[in-house]
């Protein structure tokens, strides 16, 4: 039984970096309990939030993500004791840096979702997806990437077409 599928003009790409012990299990629980959540999210599993390097978030945006979610065990529940405490500081600093460089922080969400919180996973993912959908595509990093391939200085329809066929 499927809920009626809504048609949207824009389907955001959301990349979720999750820790395998809590959030991944939580997402799994949401799945096995047949809860519905937007299919926009691509889940990438890590041993611990402590392993989620800020450069991964950057790379996700560069490669076309419109929103990024980072999620792991609640403080005190990390299976490696302090991975998420360290990650929390690192992400706080990274957020400040992205904000200073001019990235809209609304596109980057952090959460604690335990293995028992299938419902919270659905809530977090749905909320971020809808927020990013309303914001529209993340253009900034994409533009950089395009400029990397093609400066746009020679702007002929043929080049544009050739360029679009490869990207």
């Amino acid at each position: 039984m499927h809920a009626e599928k809504l048609q949207h003009d824009f389907e955001p790409k959301i990349v979720a970096f999750v820790c395998t012990w809590c959030t991944y299990a939580g997402a799994d629980l949401a799945g096995t309990s047949r809860m519905q959540y937007p299919a926009n999210v691509r889940v990438l599993k890590f041993p611990c939030t402590g392993r989620i390097d800020p450069v991964f978030i950057l790379r996700a945006f560069q490669k076309g993500a419109d929103g990024v979610l980072v999620s792991g065990c609640h403080p005190g529940d990390c299976h490696y004791m302090a991975g998420n405490f360290h990650a929390r500081r690192r992400f706080a600093a990274f957020r400040a840096l992205l904000g200073f460089v001019g990235v809209d922080l609304e596109r980057l969400q952090f959460s604690w979702v335990s293995a028992a919180e299938g419902g919270k996973w659905v809530e977090v993912v749905t909320e971020l997806t809808e927020k990013v959908r309303a914001m529209g595509p993340m253009k900034e990093f994409k533009a950089l990437e395009d400029e990397e391939q093609w400066s746009g200085a020679l702007n002929t329809p043929e080049l544009r077409e050739a360029f679009e066929s490869i990207t």
């Binding site: 450069v55 005190g76 500081r89 600093a93 840096l97 959460s111 977090v124 990093f141 990437e145």
Partner: protein, 314 residues
């Protein structure tokens, strides 16, 4: 700004101050080397052109007579104890000349176990300031030629050193240009800031001088050189440049001593120290951490507290 008035005020730094510091450094270096208390002294030697200085390693009392201190002594010498120069410390105890900002780097390196306190002898300089990059040095150290970092320096007077040389002359109050620029950027909208940094980063030619000169960029394999898998594009084009600058600022956050060497060596005049300063401000605000001239056991991003702010986490 009335440049002339400023010049007169700053010119009141008596040249005898530099002479006195130079003499004190020479006396101490000669003493240390002839007593064999150290095997070498890392200091500044006169450059080939008048009014310039170059970093140098001296090993004999005769060479030590050549050491100088002048506003041209811009380099952060702590770099000469790490990385390619790591071997220096294996030969024995080394004395090193350090301005306040360089001392923060040394302290940081000690905190990160890259340098041992007992392996070095620090000669701290009560520092009045040094020249900025590309400044006109003809008139000596003036409002126009002083480095931006020195305008708002909080570490003129070194702490925790083995020997302190020089007496600080009276210093004029200079406007904090860097702080002003930071405040200006903070007041912009995210879009405007993105546009500003996009423009700045687009100038980068990825010479990596900023990395080579930074005492804390001592990783034997830098993330930005990795190609399997590649973490960030290595060619000097927009996406890779932006990623590089974000990664650089992130890797130095909570470690950077604020020597602004990265900004000084940048051939494209990218204001790297603004990024460093912004991160330092954030870490001060969040975790009450500040780079200091005495070693701290752990930096703000290598420790944590259970009740750290998590208002940004759902």
């Amino acid at each position: 700004m009335n440049a002339k008035a400023e010049k007169i005020r700053v010119a009141s730094i008596d040249p005898s101050y530099y002479q006195a510091v130079t003499d004190a450094i020479r006396t101490e270096a000669v003493k240390l080397l002839s007593e064999e208390a150290v095997v070498a002294v890392v200091g500044y030697l006169p450059g080939r052109r008048i009014g310039t200085a170059v970093p140098g390693l001296v090993t004999t009392p005769e060479q030590a007579q050549q050491l100088i201190f002048s506003p041209a002594c811009v380099n952060n010498l702590s770099l000469y104890l790490t990385k390619a120069k790591k071997g220096v410390l294996k030969k024995g105890k080394v004395a090193i000349i350090a301005k306040g900002c360089d001392l923060r780097a040394l302290a940081g390196l000690m905190g990160e176990s890259q340098v041992k306190k007992e392996d070095i002898y620090t000669i701290g300089i009560a520092c009045a300031g040094v020249f900025g990059a590309n400044s006109d040095r003809k008139g000596g150290l003036t409002e126009a030629s002083i480095a931006r970092k020195c305008r708002e320096c909080t570490v003129h007077q070194p702490e925790g050193v083995d020997l302190l040389v020089g007496t600080l002359p009276e210093l004029p109050q200079l406007t904090a240009l860097e702080a002003q620029e930071l405040a200006r950027l903070e007041a912009l909208t995210p879009e405007e800031r993105w546009a500003y940094w996009k423009e700045q980063f687009s100038k980068c030619i990825r010479c990596l001088a900023c990395r080579q000169v930074c005492p804390f960029c001592y990783c034997e394999q830098c993330l930005c050189d990795k190609n399997r898998p590649q973490a960030l594009e290595s060619s000097p084009r927009p996406a890779g440049n932006t990623a590089w600058h974000i990664v650089r600022a992130m890797h130095l956050a909570g470690r950077c001593g604020g020597c602004a060497e990265c900004e000084r060596v940048c051939p494209m005049d990218i204001p790297l120290n603004l990024l460093n300063r912004r991160m330092a401000m954030e870490l001060k605000e969040l975790y009450d951490y500040e780079a200091s001239m005495v070693p701290q056991e752990k930096g703000p991003l290598t420790r944590y507290q259970e009740d750290d702010d998590q208002s940004f986490i759902k």
